[in-house]
Symmetry: C2
Subunit: 295 residues, 2 copies
Amino acid sequence: MTASVIDGKATAATIRQEVARAVERLKAEAGLTPGLAVVLVGEDPASSIYVRNKNKQTVEAGMASFEHKLDEGTSEADLLALIDRLNADPAVNGILVQLPLPKQIDSAKVLAAIDPAKDVDGFHVVNAGRLATGQDALVPCTPLGCVILAKQTLGDLSGLEAVVVGRSNIVGKPVAQLLLQENCTVTIAHSRTKDLAATCRRADILIAAVGRPEMIKGDWVKPGATVIDVGINRIEGEGGKGKIVGDVAYDEAAAVAGHITPVPGGVGPMTIACLLRNTVTAAARQNGLSSPFAG
Amino acid sequence: MTASVIDGKATAATIRQEVARAVERLKAEAGLTPGLAVVLVGEDPASSIYVRNKNKQTVEAGMASFEHKLDEGTSEADLLALIDRLNADPAVNGILVQLPLPKQIDSAKVLAAIDPAKDVDGFHVVNAGRLATGQDALVPCTPLGCVILAKQTLGDLSGLEAVVVGRSNIVGKPVAQLLLQENCTVTIAHSRTKDLAATCRRADILIAAVGRPEMIKGDWVKPGATVIDVGINRIEGEGGKGKIVGDVAYDEAAAVAGHITPVPGGVGPMTIACLLRNTVTAAARQNGLSSPFAG
């Protein structure tokens, strides 16, 4: 068997189109232009690229983009004051603070200061709690992207065995909550799991979110399973050139799996698309409307 | 094999002693008497018995107990006003609103109004979020009781396969989070799980929290496993007399398991003991001290 490749780029493009249509409707029917504020402190080159992409895609979807670039030396108090202003600004429906922050700033304190209703990254404790208790939440973007890809590939996920490898707050734990909402039987595995290979082999849906290059081998994959690889690891490729690989040994796994996400081009492109989707959801809910997106 | 019986009554008594000692230390070293306010609306007989037991055990542990009995016809506004007063009262470290509430009152709204720092039931969304993200939380009492019993029975739980049957917000989901913190490989199973018997048979630790009398059969239990039964189901026994049974077919399971909680006398007595423990933890944290209890 050779797995069919799950095209995250194409799905992300479809989501961006859905977002653009939802934005048009909000403008026409509610006089509302969703707005996303992105805050970048310092000059980290990778962060700068992310922020530029986010702004570009926000504008392309018809939304307002507010970019706040602060000096590397910005104090925590000044950043918190900015967050307060953004919380109070009705034109701003979503607030994203690009991580990592410089070390004079306590990231946890800053994330906790964001109004949960505008927390489009879904990292605020109130959104984690709402997700954990099955209430309407703003859900972290990468987990949301994983589940959208799985549902698009498999349809109804009810009753399927899902195994999540990794238990981070930003991917592993929220993706487990989302899969549980989809009525999967969910196992969370991690570094202390005794027989990780056997645990992975139980999975109809295998989510790899450990951040270790090619750790999950082909014979850890159940024949026909759907493999969603969240890992983005930079390793040294041939001739000393940098190369991006996932947490799954792709070629081996693709020989066994039914469906598999590539790295890059799988989960990666979904993240910003889901950020835009969250911003529209946040804008709608802040104005007493329900989210225009299903599931 | 015949399972050894996990004595929840004895463990609960030990916890109450630990609580009483911690209260004495807080009084002597910090001049602090932890206080628990219990709010009962109406005359439900079962609720009245629970509240009486809670108050009695609170006082026996050396703490202050504040009982608020409100008329069945109390308005939501009046109850919310009481919650506000209790939130503001420094003598009250824990607030428990006995459920169910009469139907003119929105329970979710009332629970959300409790200061998360005083939410000793652990049902507030902020405590659910803190638990879900591995921060200090006030943890729901029954799940906490389950994990204390498992640790007391097995010691270090790291690497063990835990299967939680049931995904309620008050037991299944929080107990899964706690077992994950103990480094178990955790599976959450439920009504949509395809082969529930086989899934249960994987468990080194099996937590039954479905609320269906004797649903989990003896041959669903892995030989030697530790079985923690959260169910409290009233069924018709011999001669038409009422009888309390758990979610596990006890006699069958006890023939296979290594350790098992009885019903009654297993998880049940742990709940109030953990409530007292949470009240002391809340009192300590509200006064800038750390919880006197490990784990």
